[in-house]
């Protein structure tokens, strides 16, 4: 088990390094940063001045290692746009995105697991079909549009919740619903598939034969086993949601990490963009690492892979 964890950790670190290299290269090769920062109307002399000022005139390799060296010490340099360091900006915004991610995940799990269990227990009835319909619709709706539709219905129509901002917890309800609905379908399908699998197994038949109550069989014996892969998937989904928060945060003007990235992209503030990409990737890598270790700890067959 320990060797598995260590090997998996080494891969995770290597992936992080690769993502850092790739995101650096993508941003530096896909266009001239100095021209982008200076704006389309500036003269060639201005562009040159900016190039020197931001150190963009130095060889790419030098720039990269300098950036990586400080990034390893959690120093991502200064924002081109603000006077603050990138870390200050990120530190301010990260809690909001984490709060949004946690709420979305809780909501998604709170809906997905009961729905998945019900769909499996009442397989091929209207309950099952309704659950599949809810999941299929969730996968088909563009999330920015669902977010806007929620505003129209619940903020403007029913006046239950605020339209935008991040002053109170009410501001997080609609964004969390919009983001959570995106993660719910896959969690629901996995719960359903896992429950169907487990309910047909020998030990459940034994538990039933022993005369245990149906509720006890379902919740104590079946769900416990069916839920393991769901917990692992939930960790991965949280990683995806942090990445997807850029869209939801921009719709609701939540001043989180996604909004910071989005504003920074519009302002050509590349140190910030780079840092946010790397931070979100790091969260995803850490969460998949946890999910893998969790799976391996609970299911020894996984360790040999």
């Amino acid at each position: 088990m320990l060797t598995y964890i260590l090997r998996r950790l080494a891969v995770a670190l290597a992936v992080m390094l690769t993502v850092a290299v790739v995101s650096f290269l993508l941003l530096h090769l896909s266009g001239d940063l100095a021209t982008a920062i200076a704006g389309p109307e500036s003269s060639a002399a201005d562009v040159e001045k900016i190039r020197v000022q931001y150190g963009l005139d130095r060889p790419m390799v030098t720039q990269f290692f300098e950036w990586l060296g400080s990034a390893l010490q959690l120093d991502f340099g200064r924002s081109f746009y603000f006077q603050n360091t990138v870390m200050e900006l990120v530190g301010e915004r990260l809690p909001i995105t984490l709060k949004l991610g946690a709420m979305s995940l809780l909501l998604a799990v709170a809906v997905a697991i009961p729905l998945g269990v019900a769909a499996a227990l009442y397989r091929d009835t209207w309950v099952d079909r309704l659950a599949l319909l809810v999941a299929t619709i969730g996968q088909a709706m563009p999330n920015f549009w669902f977010a806007l539709a929620l505003i129209v219905v619940f903020s403007v129509g029913l006046k239950w919740l605020p339209v935008a901002g991040n002053a109170s917890w009410q501001n997080f309800v609609l964004p969390a619903v919009a983001l959570g609905y995106y993660a719910m379908p896959s969690l629901m399908r996995l719960t359903r598939a896992g429950m169907l699998d487990v309910m047909g197994s020998d030990y459940i038949r034994t538990a039933r034969a022993k005369g245990l109550s149906p509720a006890r069989v379902v919740f104590k014996h079946a769900l416990r086993n069916a839920i393991i892969p769901v917990v692992a998937l939930a960790a991965v989904e949280l990683g995806f949601m942090l990445g997807g928060s850029v869209v939801i945060e921009s719709v609701y003007s939540l001043q989180g990490l996604g909004q910071l990235a989005w504003d920074s992209i519009a302002r050509n503030d590349y140190p910030v963009v780079q840092a946010v990409v790397l931070i979100i990737a790091t969260f995803y890598i850490a969460l998949t690492f946890v999910a893998d270790v969790l799976n391996a700890a609970l299911d020894p067959r996984m360790r040999t892979r």
């Binding site: 563009p142 129209v152 359903r192 997807g244 990235a261």
Partner: protein, 303 residues
């Protein structure tokens, strides 16, 4: 006639043969409700996109400030002149919707094709050769999965400048992961199959085995992934266009229509409802087709 005449000598054995596999598959496909509905909706969308110039009642780019924000026909102020109303510049919504289908479908098809090519190549090589090749490809897949798609696409589109071509290239380079994962594990299962061994013993070259023997057996799985990724690409294009970094105005894209209508959604909610619902219905149809193909191709492995 053939039923009354005696069987020709030697055909009795033929008659005893079961119905060919593809006929049975076709029969199952016709009986699958989700697949049927999905195919019809997708077919209609393709038809609308191809025939847009003939179907559209108005020029999708023609602005008319005297005809701004007319509601759809079911609304009390609606007119038959503009069945789905007009946008903030007085452009006919139905016409823009029809032309918008072109953007979504082109991006969906081309992205699924190019991403499929990249992913399948990687997946087949990794699955067939295993060992070091597999280790490298698996590592590349892991790295790709760690990159936040929306964020990377936004940052790149902002540097290069958003356009239809840029969106297709970016999404093709980002959405190959599922193709690679699925073809890799499918190839691993087929690698040691007897027909591969037979081809090897006949002296077939490795490229021949991969393309002519292995690939046809992956087509079922590939079609399913292709539909999922097509839906994924259409949703991402609409997201990029909504955020202003995808297809650029005045091109009619459904995501862009939602963005343009955003300021008016409080009093004219239909300006965002119509393109959003159309988008969701198209994606739903494509997903239904994908799920249906999976069910029909593997009837026993359902769920």
């Amino acid at each position: 006639m053939t039923t009354t005449s005696l069987p020709l000598p030697g055909t009795a054995a033929l008659a005893a043969l079961p119905v060919p596999a593809w006929r049975r598959t076709l029969r199952r496909a016709a009986g699958h409700r989700g697949l049927l509905i999905g195919s019809i909706v997708l077919g209609l969308a393709v038809l609308a996109a191809v025939l847009a110039p003939w179907l559209a009642p108005h020029d999708p780019f023609a602005q008319d400030v005297t005809q701004r924000l007319i509601p759809p026909v079911w609304h009390e102020r609606g007119t038959w002149e503009h069945v789905l109303g007009t946008d903030k510049l007085g452009r006919d919504y139905l016409s823009r919707l029809l032309y918008g289908a072109r953007v979504s479908l082109v991006i969906g098809f081309v992205t699924a094709l190019v991403a499929g090519l990249i992913g399948t190549t990687l997946g087949v090589l990794a699955g067939y050769f295993g060992g070091r090749v597999d280790a490298v490809v698996s590592y590349v897949i892991t790295c790709r999965l760690a990159m936040p798609v929306v964020l990377v696409a936004l940052a790149m589109a902002s540097l290069v400048g958003g356009s239809l071509k840029v969106v297709i290239v970016l999404l093709s380079l980002l959405l190959w992961d599922r193709f690679a994962i699925v073809t890799r594990s499918a190839t691993q299962q087929l690698r040691d199959a007897e027909f591969i061994a037979a081809a090897k013993s006949l002296g077939a070259s490795t490229p021949y085995i991969l393309v002519r023997e292995l690939l046809p057996n992956l087509m079922g799985a590939l079609t399913v992934v292709a539909t999922l990724e097509m839906a994924h690409a259409i949703l991402l294009e609409s997201t990029l266009s909504f955020l202003g970094l995808g297809v650029q105005p005045p091109t009619p894209s459904w995501g862009l229509m939602v963005a343009e209508g955003k300021a008016y959604m409080f009093f004219q909610p239909w300006v965002i409802m119509i393109p959003g619902v159309v988008l969701a219905v198209l994606v739903l149809a494509i997903n239904l087709v994908g799920d249906g193909i999976r069910d029909v191709a593997a009837p026993d492995g359902r769920h």
